[in-house]
């Protein structure tokens, strides 16, 4: 019997179409298990991955009259029933939080999921302060305030992002509607809160008789194409992907959905390459507690400072908590993970308040007492020199067991579809977290794919064929690529510590900041009128 590497080599020597016909998780010995002769159960949709992308896709599908009664199954390694109890009771917040754009929120409302989100645990924010740690130039996003504005690179980025605050705020000024979300830049929500709500919605739909077959705590064992038909008159499933689970269940999919995250086994099976690179940065996340503001306000602000080692962001959560996303070198990330909680908290304060050189000094000397370092370094660094926003909060401590670090990558699948298969969410693309877009792009994919399938059903298409699925790839790939590219460029421009690029970027930001009229135009779009509070 050939060894595993030899087999792999032989497999890779095959033409792509044949190679596509087999994927197996490395944990099982595929050479000894012959395909079971039993007929697989037929499904219209088999979705691998019950993250935000997969769940919202299924909820969208079952909420639409045309696709409501499709036969669907969901496979996920995790236990999908208990995710909520983990964070329900207490005031502790998960470190995996995402900011949902107004467009994402609208989608979640449309598919009936938002009403199941625990609203006490989400935090809308109404402004965003972004400043450059090297040049000190600064911009302020605030849809409620036409005098505050944004421009330059970030401004044009914000324009491009689907459903971004810019577009949302424009719409607000055009319609002058004062809804619940009026003036909201984005809404912070724990990923767990969102997935629990989506599962709740799927359960609700199940009660209405249009349920998803849930196969959680189930790892995909292998994926292969259906076997050749037994006779000339039998159905021909040789183009249908068949998923096998460790318990021997076999599910044949008219459309196999890869919503299985960045290391997507479905993408591997389909032999779709994902191009990209590693940023040589890690994203350090944590949940922090802030000192209550001196004057309580219903308005909340998100903060982001670009440092030469990567951006650091502080995003508001309820009850004076905040979510940290600090992109930095793997070396600094490692240091940050091992600092004492007091030093860690002080390091974050330093990252927002001090000059980059001071910060680097601290992080290369983890044995210093950061709080005492801060007592003399902070007064020596006036906010004027760093452009620190006046209302920047005081960080008091770190919530236990919330520190984690993820390697940051850029990846984009060369296509999102092949016959009987579609990718969405992180399986299709991974993006730098600096613009908080990863999950939002996944939700936009889910919405588009559900829409394309509904349109296909309404026109009698076989929804597994390229004729139907290709329009999903056509609709999403270019748009995602534009956002991925813009975020990538932003990352690169702001990762430079000195020289013409820094000079150029500060000019870009400040010219816009000074031209108040132009800013107003950009923010308010229609001109005139009485936007604002």
């Amino acid at each position: 019997m050939p060894s595993r590497p030899l087999l792999l080599k032989r497999l890779l020597a095959l033409p792509p179409t044949l190679r596509r016909s087999f994927w197996s998780s490395s944990s099982t010995n595929t050479t000894t298990t012959p395909p079971s002769p039993s007929q697989p159960e037929l499904y219209d949709i088999v979705c691998v991955g019950g993250g935000p992308a997969g769940l919202s896709f299924l909820a969208a599908l079952h909420s639409h009259p045309a696709t409501r009664s499709l036969k669907t199954a969901l496979i996920d390694t995790q236990d999908l029933t208990t995710s909520r109890s983990a964070n329900d009771a207490n005031d502790a917040y998960s470190n995996r939080c995402s900011s949902l754009t107004p467009a994402s929120l609208r989608f979640l409302k449309d598919i009936g999921a938002w009403e199941h989100v625990d609203r006490r645990r989400v935090q809308p924010y109404h402004a965003m302060d972004v400043w450059d740690g090297v040049s000190g130039s600064r911009m302020h996003f605030d849809p409620m305030d036409r005098e505050g504005g944004a421009g330059g690179l970030l401004g044009s980025l914000a324009e491009m992002l689907p459903g971004s605050r810019f577009q949302a705020s424009r719409r607000k000024y055009e319609t002058a509607g004062m809804e619940e979300e009026a003036g909201v830049v984005a809404t912070m929500c724990e990923n767990m809160n969102l997935t629990a709500a989506l599962l709740q919605r799927l359960k609700e739909l199940q009660k209405e008789g249009t349920g998803v077959k849930m196969l959680d705590k189930t790892k995909v064992d292998s994926i292969q194409l259906g076997s050749a038909p037994a006779s000339d008159t039998a159905p021909d499933l040789s183009q249908w992907p068949v998923v096998t689970t460790p318990t021997g269940d076999r599910l044949a999919a008219r459309v196999l959905i890869g919503a299985d995250g960045a290391n997507s086994p479905v993408r591997t099976f389909a032999n779709i390459p994902a191009h990209g690179w590693d940023y040589n940065q890690h994203g350090v996340v944590a949940t922090l507690t802030l000192a209550p503001p001196s004057t309580p306000t219903p308005f909340h602000t998100a903060y982001q400072r670009f440092l030469p080692t990567g951006p650091i962001a502080l995003l508001p959560l309820p009850n004076n908590q905040a979510s940290l996303v600090w992109s930095t070198t793997p070396h600094h990330a490692q240091t940050l993970k091992t600092l004492s909680p007091t030093n860690f908290t002080a390091a974050i304060t330093a990252a927002f308040h001090l000059l980059p050189t001071d910060l680097t000094h601290l992080l290369t000397h983890p044995n210093l007492s950061y709080p005492s370092e801060l007592t003399w370094r902070l007064p020596a660094t006036p906010a004027k020199t760093t452009n620190l926003p006046a209302n920047f909060p005081t960080i008091t401590h770190l919530q236990e067991n919330t520190r984690a670090a993820f390697p940051l990558r850029y990846r984009h699948a060369s296509t999102y579809t092949s016959p009987h298969l579609a990718l969405l969410g992180d399986a299709a693309h991974t993006i730098h977290p600096l613009a908080g877009q990863g999950l939002n792009l996944g939700l936009a994919d889910a919405r588009a794919l559900a829409h394309v399938l509904a349109d296909g059903v309404q026109h009698g298409m076989d929804i597994g064929t390229e004729g139907c699925l290709d329009s999903y790839s056509a609709e999403r790939w270019g748009r995602n690529n534009a956002v991925l590219g813009a975020v990538d460029k932003l990352q690169k421009v702001y990762s430079v510590g000195s020289g013409p690029v820094v000079w150029g970027r500060s000019l870009g930001v400040e010219v816009f900041e000074r031209l108040g009229g132009l800013k107003g135009l950009v923010m308010g779009a229609a001109g005139g009128g009485s936007g604002g509070r």
Binding site: P229, P235, Q458, H459, G460, D462, E466
Partner: protein, 335 residues
């Protein structure tokens, strides 16, 4: 694409107005990605230069002259033997989404939209299921899709060309739902011999009888259409699509699509057999059982293929190119 260069240079030698029409309807997206939507066809058409080079066909004549007696095969009167052999040669590429049937695949969703338009005014029970008869089903592009529709009570699809029926049956196996009993039945026959295959008269009665891209391939349309009507239930719709006999359609479907660009194989169309929308309506008005009042009884929609965008409904374009028509059989009681 190897043929792009010679094609483009040939194209560029044409007069501007002609060139624009040609580009709008037939060029592949790689050559002209952002072509304008071809709404101004009529104005710019090279009508005066090519009109009347071919004789007109008269429906009255067609009706008065029954098909010449040919050696009687099961596929008789309506069927043109050259057409049968032409389509049998095409059979293998029928389901290749990038092959010669690509434009038909792209058009198929519009067929359902048009049927919905025809049915929109009907007071049918919600969830009422309809029986479909697809005449000239070819490889089954429409028949399969109709069988998947929520409102389908089953589809019978007929075609006189044995090879395309074989292709259709073979292809339907790729979708197990189509193989469930009663969903989709293919019969290799000409429509006038349907009774030999479905002896029960009730089984030959349908709510929707479709003729997509068929009548332009029929030598004697009038008797053929009468046969189609016989399969229609009272209150049902005869729905089809075809190409108008116009200099623009000659230019786009014969000269450009077949000769210059090779989008569809040569010999696919016989321009002389193209039918004008008004001719079709005149014929319908002569059939006492048809209701031809605009809207509830008669529907028409022109469509144009725009490279890069696909097929688009364009009002008024029915006289120069592809168009859909729908005509309703009077109900038992009223209409």
């Amino acid at each position: 694409m190897a043929s792009t260069c010679p094609t483009t240079s040939r194209l560029l030698q044409l007069p501007a107005a002609v060139r624009r029409v040609a580009l709008c309807q037939t060029l592949t997206p790689t050559v002209l990605r952002a072509s304008p939507i071809a709404t101004s066809f009529g104005r710019d058409s090279p009508a005066t230069t090519i009109t009347n080079t071919q004789g007109r066909r008269d429906y009255a004549t067609a009706q008065a002259n029954p098909p010449p007696t040919r050696p009687q095969t099961p596929s008789s009167s309506s069927v043109n033997e050259t057409e049968v052999s032409h389509f049998s040669a095409l059979a293998s590429s029928w389901w290749d989404p990038h092959g010669s049937s690509r434009l038909l695949h792209l058009m198929n969703p519009l067929r359902h939209d048009f049927i919905r338009t025809c049915l929109a005014r009907e007071a049918r029970e919600p969830g009422e299921k309809l029986r479909y008869l697809d005449i000239g089903c070819g490889g089954g592009i429409f028949a399969e899709s109709a069988a998947r529709m929520r409102n389908s009570a089953g589809v019978v699809a007929v075609d006189p060309t044995p090879e395309v029926i074989a292709v259709a049956k073979q292809h339907a196996r790729q979708d197990p739902t189509l193989m469930e009993p009663g969903n989709l039945q293919y019969i290799n026959t000409a429509i006038e011999n349907l009774d030999q295959h479905l002896p029960d008269a009730a089984a030959r009665q349908f709510d929707i009888v479709t003729l997509f891209e068929v009548i332009e391939h029929i030598q004697h349309p009038a008797p053929f259409l009468r046969n189609c009507l016989d399969s229609l239930k009272p209150g049902g719709w005869l729905i089809g699509s075809t190409i108008a006999r116009h200099p623009v359609s000659w230019f786009t479907t014969k000269f450009m699509a077949e000769d210059v660009l090779g989008l569809v194989p040569r010999g696919t169309h016989d321009w002389n057999q193209y039918i004008q929308p008004h001719e079709l309506r005149d014929w319908a008005r002569q059939q006492p059982e048809l209701s031809t009042s605009d809207g509830p009884g008669w529907q028409m929609q022109g469509v144009i293929y725009v490279p890069g965008l696909g097929w688009k409904q364009v009002d008024g374009s029915e006289t120069i190119g592809n168009y859909f028509f729908g005509v309703k059989k009077r109900g038992l009681a009223s209409n």
